[in-house]
């Protein structure tokens, strides 16, 4: 589908995209590798001059930070798995089966998604405290799932409903049982939707700050956003150290995203042909 004029514009567009998305990121990386005073140089240096590793050393010296990254990872992963485990079947039902009150159910989930989380903080905190779950993984995973479930269900419902209606019937005609039809045909075809949802959920959980701050009180149980907030001094904001910590936390996410991206592309090329 190559129209020549289009290609030049596409190229320009792509470069612009990359620049816009990356310049602030580049800046964070730059600051992370520069000395703490480099920011105050006039005129500003646009690259580490000279590059230093002390900020990264600072970050690893701080108690628990690697552990916090681990916590974030676990929480985000479990949230994603739980949300998909709950949401995918529900979305399938809403999209492919005749369900009475389908719109009502979707509206309920929508309503849940809309409800301001701030309002729920107090009661959820009390609930978790009473269950003795403060500082544990479930204290975060459960509320997070609650918040991401609606988005997952909406996206997946849309996705499932874009699949051709006769798919299951065709599979059944070919001799599959309903579960087999689901596993062998539907699921692979909905891979893009599943992975899209997974990414959205994971990153949401990874970034969440307010609930994490309230539900975790010990250094060992904290997640990354809260740990990052801890770097700030009473008045000072150690930009360089924060930048280094940020880079460290973003790298695993980026790696994961790249990994998932391949799945999406693969899921597609093996997919929609009939």
């Amino acid at each position: 589908m190559a129209h020549r004029g289009a290609t030049i514009w596409s190229w320009f567009g792509r470069m612009l995209l990359v620049v816009l998305a990356l310049v602030p990121i580049y800046w964070i990386v730059n600051v992370s590798f520069s000395g703490p005073q480099a920011l105050y140089k006039v005129p500003l240096d646009y690259y580490p001059n000279p590059p230093v590793l002390e900020n990264y050393r600072e970050v690893f010296d701080v108690n628990q930070f690697p552990g916090n990254v681990g916590n974030s990872f676990i929480v985000a992963t479990l949230t994603t798995l739980l949300t998909l485990a709950l949401g995918a079947p529900a979305a399938y039902a809403l999209a492919r089966l005749r369900v009475r009150g389908r719109n009502l159910i979707l509206a309920v989930f929508l309503g849940l998604a809309i409800f301001p989380a701030i309002g729920m903080m107090g009661p959820l905190y009390v609930a978790m405290a009473r269950l003795g779950l403060i500082n544990t993984i479930p204290a975060l995973v459960l509320p997070y799932t609650l918040f991401t479930l609606p988005l997952a269900i909406w996206i997946l419902t849309h996705f499932f409903s874009t699949l051709p209606a006769s798919l299951e019937d065709a599979a059944l005609v070919d001799g599959c049982t309903p579960p087999q039809a689901f596993l062998r045909i539907i699921l692979p075809l909905s891979a893009p939707g599943l992975f899209t949802s997974a990414i959205l959920i994971f990153i949401w959980a990874w970034n969440e700050f307010l609930f994490a701050l309230i539900m975790t009180t010990t250094p060992e149980s904290r997640t990354v956003p809260v740990a990052l907030a801890l770097f700030a001094g009473l008045h000072e904001l150690p930009w360089a150290t924060i930048a280094a910590a940020t880079v460290i936390t973003v790298v695993p996410v980026v790696v994961l995203v790249v990994f998932f991206q391949r799945q999406i592309v693969e899921g597609l090329t093996s997919g929609v042909e009939r």
């Binding site: 129209h3 567009g13 995209l17 990359v18 998305a21 990356l22 310049v23 602030p24 990121i25 964070i28 600051v31 920011l39 005129p43 500003l44 709950l86 079947p89 529900a90 039902a93 005749r98 369900v99 159910i105 929508l110 309503g111 849940l112 998604a113 809309i114 409800f115 301001p116 989380a117 701030i118 309002g119 009661p123 959820l124 609930a127 509320p143 799932t145 609650l146 479930l149 909406w154 849309h158 996705f159 409903s161 309903p178 939707g193 899209t196 990414i199 970034n207 700050f209 307010l210 990354v224 956003p225 990052l228 924060i242 940020t246 973003v250 980026v254 790249v258 991206q261 999406i264 592309v265």
Partner: protein, 289 residues
């Protein structure tokens, strides 16, 4: 499948989510409804009493509420609008790419992968009038002679919108990208055979088939934008006309410990966003027909 069987299957598939949501979500949400009719102050829980609609009456005459509503509306409309446009553009660009699609998508994901509080902190550094990157670049390029006060009274809202658009356009792009990829290729091949040019193809095939995904993206972005908190809190603290409803609610709940009125505000925000969403859904549905 037989009707009864189908019904039972559907029930089993839906039950776990519904139970989960009910068990975990019902209590917090219901308690907010109840509390909105009380004057509970968390510091003096024993003094709490039922005040009927007094909180709601207070809401109507609360100048801060209306002002913040305006701020929030402005923010939502502008940033979501920009995000849809830019997100669509980005998704189209990436979809068209044959090589480097993975790299492009990953690049695009990075702004969004940052924790919001960190992105906000970084933007406040980049937009700093003295040591910020933006002013440094602008003055090097000779575009400004005086330092621009990005986070000052005149440009605060612009900066907040800018930071939000930067951060969440990837979200929209991802959803639209998934939508683009769900469009069977042979539709395009057919169109090309028919001699349609790119714009006609876009209007006739891409856009209509993308509608549900645009709707989802628009819906969730609008809902999120209307309730924005982290970004504003870190960038400006709500100063200079950037205080949104969520910031106000946060203050009422945690600064003044007014659980009663805070719940009223929460319910109000909920109702507004809910109506807005219903409106959006309805209009999308009308368009689809």
């Amino acid at each position: 499948m037989i009707r009864g069987q189908e019904r039972r299957l559907a029930l089993w598939l839906l039950l776990p989510s519904l139970v989960f949501v009910t068990v975990l979500g019902a209590f917090p949400i219901l308690s907010q409804f109840v509390l909105s009719f009380t004057d509970l102050n968390l510091r003096f829980p024993a003094d709490r009493g039922f005040v009927g609609g007094a909180n709601y009456a207070r809401l109507v005459t609360d100048a801060v509420f209306w002002q913040d509503l305006g701020n929030t509306l402005l923010f939502t409309v502008v940033s979501v609008g920009l995000e849809l446009l830019l997100g669509l553009g980005a998704a189209l660009l990436i979809n068209r790419a044959i090589r480097g699609r993975t790299a492009l998508t990953s690049t695009l994901m990075m702004p969004w992968a940052l924790p919001t509080v960190v992105a906000a902190t970084m933007w406040s550094l980049i937009l700093n009038d003295r040591i910020g990157l933006v002013n440094s670049l602008l003055s090097r390029l000779g575009l400004i002679s005086e330092r621009v006060l990005w986070l000052g009274p005149k440009l605060a809202m612009t900066s907040v919108i800018l930071a939000d658009v930067w951060k969440t356009t990837p979200f929209v792009a991802i959803i639209l990208l998934a939508g683009l990829k769900s469009i069977p290729r042979h539709y395009y091949e057919a169109a090309e055979l028919d001699g349609a040019n790119r714009w006609e193809t876009f209007r006739a095939i891409t856009l209509p088939l993308l509608k549900p995904f645009i709707a989802v993206a628009l819906l969730f972005r609008a809902m999120d934008a209307f309730r924005i908190f982290d970004l504003v809190w870190v960038l400006t603290g709500g100063a200079s006309g950037t205080e949104t409803l969520s910031v106000y609610i946060y203050k009422v709940l945690f600064r003044y410990s007014e659980m009663g009125y805070g719940s009223t505000l929460t319910i109000a925000l909920f109702v507004i966003v809910f109506l807005m969403s219903l409106g959006l859904i309805r209009s999308m549905r009308v368009q689809a027909e």
